[in-house]
Symmetry: C2
Subunit: 401 residues, 2 copies
């Protein structure tokens, strides 16, 4: 086990009616005027925004609104938020939504207190030393941003022809002070949105799981337990979107998948995220979770042949496969994961199913290694040649043989 | 899943050399003069205290020392600590030790800021509204006090003939601000101390596991994972006290077993703790963890016949038992748990092995229900008759038949 620091100070208020406590929680984080950030008009139309504003009013907290955050949130709205927050003198942020909304709120929270351009934090030119406190009302589980100190923002037309999508990671300064999580607020998510969130959660767990660090039994067991819980609950939520308990279990896994608890004491992997980011940068219509459903099994299939031990452990402990040796067990594990993504979650399993025809795999490979270095990955270092073969596997209907 | 609030703001600094950061962490909790609380002279003699004082000196933090905390800590040293803290004007506490030391530090932290008698907090006469911040350097894993807001103190001669042992539970005000955890500091624990700590951890997990709350898949899977990790690591630490990785995994489970993470969204049980507290109140030489090794399997054996479902789940998922129905699986689970406690951990399994001869079971039963009510327990409500039978089971070498 490696040395580690773990600090997760987000207060979780979980359950039916939790959003009624938003006002009190905002007050308790020391805020008197809050910038409410949200995405779709939906939040306004379904009455949630009104209920939250009511909760703020009750305790005398003033507010300013900023709606319109889109998936893969961009720098434009962040800049608008920073201007608005300064003009109105807000002293805290309240994000109502999922990862895109929360990440936008975090970017504003850091940017307000900084003299330079907020994008400096994302390029690494500057470090966040001060930020407004952020609270969250979660409506779209998956990204795990409600419990993390990270934020992913896209700079539009940054690299002339291409958008630049970068992530900012902080130890704790951007971790939300509280997260309100009422599973009923997720009943209206479509089956596809639900599935995308679940793939995202599983990927967050597995990116930490695939590690060369020795003797990480606690982290492995926590990760395997969270994966088993998702595999158990997913079919229920896919079958009945108003199954409260299935929604609750899934939403809670989403936070634990990405608040760092399963990563304690280990080096992490994050290869599949790198492979996927290159795809969704080139094809912006690709939803991150759907992309991961194609990428993760392909990566794992390749790894099953090159370094099967941890894939085999996942297979045996999570999917109950029995393969006579590590390689057989690993291959069965990949088949089980693909079956779960494809059959239970109805996710795409190939680039074509993802809507990408005739992809230029050489160009994807070239750009990935140009951005990330000659070799990438924690559990198994990929050369450009490895990467090219994994992208190739994403073309195939079946990767088992 | 029940509604819940989860807030665990303790920063964990984990690994080799972690204690070197004590000074910086104390400074970061805003403290300039600290009362160092510890137990055995051992901490002083082995150089740990010096290293920590050195770490405080480096950053200019003043300190006052209070040694001599004993197992089952009492009110006397708490009162002395409160006087000392006031006289010297300290603004924070630093506990170096295990649960007894941390619980004493918490009691002092709350008492210093209170005009009345600190014992009021334990009797429920008053509530902790203000407390000095507490930091921890953990040397004895098991009690989990480094991540909890609780403190257990004994009032000597409180109830004339009998001592009164009461626990104070707070939401967050007494949760340590940081916990320094270096597994090397646990190398000198004896096999017995190690085993007692592990039983305590397993009990913290199982007291939460046995719940009537429905649809708590995430909590169940986390609990089962932590139990499996302990079962995997315990023999290594018992066999080689300097096995760093085994010590590390066990110590980390100790915190997660009791910081609330496995209890989210469920009502908890705590029957075995109640049964055990009555024994160790009557027989003060009984170590809490050793008492639990006798109590928990006896309780579980009784429950296997009256409400087997969750015992069976534990058996199947944690011990891999195969019993054809819940009752058979539950009975096998009890046998597995007893085998683990007896054979791997070398713990007592009967009251006699615990050093108690000819116990007055009627009196134990009478006193327990006089203190705790006509029926006790969360998962299965025990009447006095049930309780009497469970105490009876603690006499038997084998409870399986």
């Amino acid at each position: 086990m490696e040395n580690f620091t773990y600090y997760s100070p987000t207060l979780i208020e979980f359950g039916r009616g939790a959003e009624e406590k938003t006002g009190v929680l905002t007050f308790m984080m020391g805020v008197s005027k809050v910038l409410i950030v949200y995405g779709r008009k939906y939040v306004r139309n379904n009455g949630l925004l009104d209920r939250i504003i009511n909760s703020l009013n009750t305790i005398g907290i003033e507010y300013v609104e900023l709606g319109g955050v889109c998936p893969n949130p961009t720098d434009g709205l962040v800049r608008e938020g920073i201007r608005l927050a300064r003009a109105k003198g807000v002293d805290g942020l309240l994000a109502i939504g999922g990862g895109s909304v929360i990440d936008t709120a975090k970017a504003i929270a850091a940017g307000v207190k900084y003299d330079g351009d907020f994008w400096d934090f994302y390029t690494g030119k500057s470090e966040v030393r001060e930020a407004l406190p952020v609270g969250v009302v979660l409506t779209v589980p998956g990204a795990g941003s409600e419990g993390s100190g990270n934020s992913v923002i896209t700079l539009e037309g940054g690299d002339s022809a291409h958008n630049v999508k970068l992530s900012l990671r902080t130890d704790s300064i951007l971790k939300p002070r509280f997260a309100v999580m009422n599973p009923e607020l997720t009943f209206t998510l479509s089956a596809r949105q639900t599935a995308i969130g679940i793939v995202d959660m599983m990927s967050h767990i597995m990116e930490r799981y695939f590690s060369n660090s020795n003797a990480v039994e606690v982290g492995d067991r926590l990760a395997e337990g969270l994966l088993m819980a998702l595999i158990n609950e997913a079919p229920k939520a896919m079958g009945d979107p108003t199954d409260y308990h299935a929604r609750a279990n899934i939403e809670w896994v989403g936070t634990l998948a990405h608040n760092g608890i399963t990563g304690c004491g280990r080096r992490e992997d994050w290869t599949s995220h790198a492979l996927e980011h290159e795809i969704s940068a080139e094809y912006p219509d690709v939803a991150h979770g759907a992309g991961l459903a194609v990428v993760f099994p392909a990566w794992m299939a390749y790894i099953a042949h090159h370094k099967p031990s941890k894939v085999a452990q996942l297979g045996r402990r999570v999917f109950g496969v029995e393969g006579r040796d590590d390689r057989s067990a690993a291959i069965e594990a990949v088949a089980s994961l693909r079956a779960f993504f494809g059959t239970v979650l109805k996710m795409p399993l190939t680039l074509e199913e993802l809507g990408i025809k005739d992809p230029d795999l050489d160009e994807l490979t070239r750009r990935l290694h140009a951005n990330k270095g000659e070799t990438i990955g924690g559990y198994y270092r990929l050369t450009a040649e490895d990467t090219r073969q994994i992208y190739e596997l994403m073309l195939a209907k079946s990767v088992e043989n």
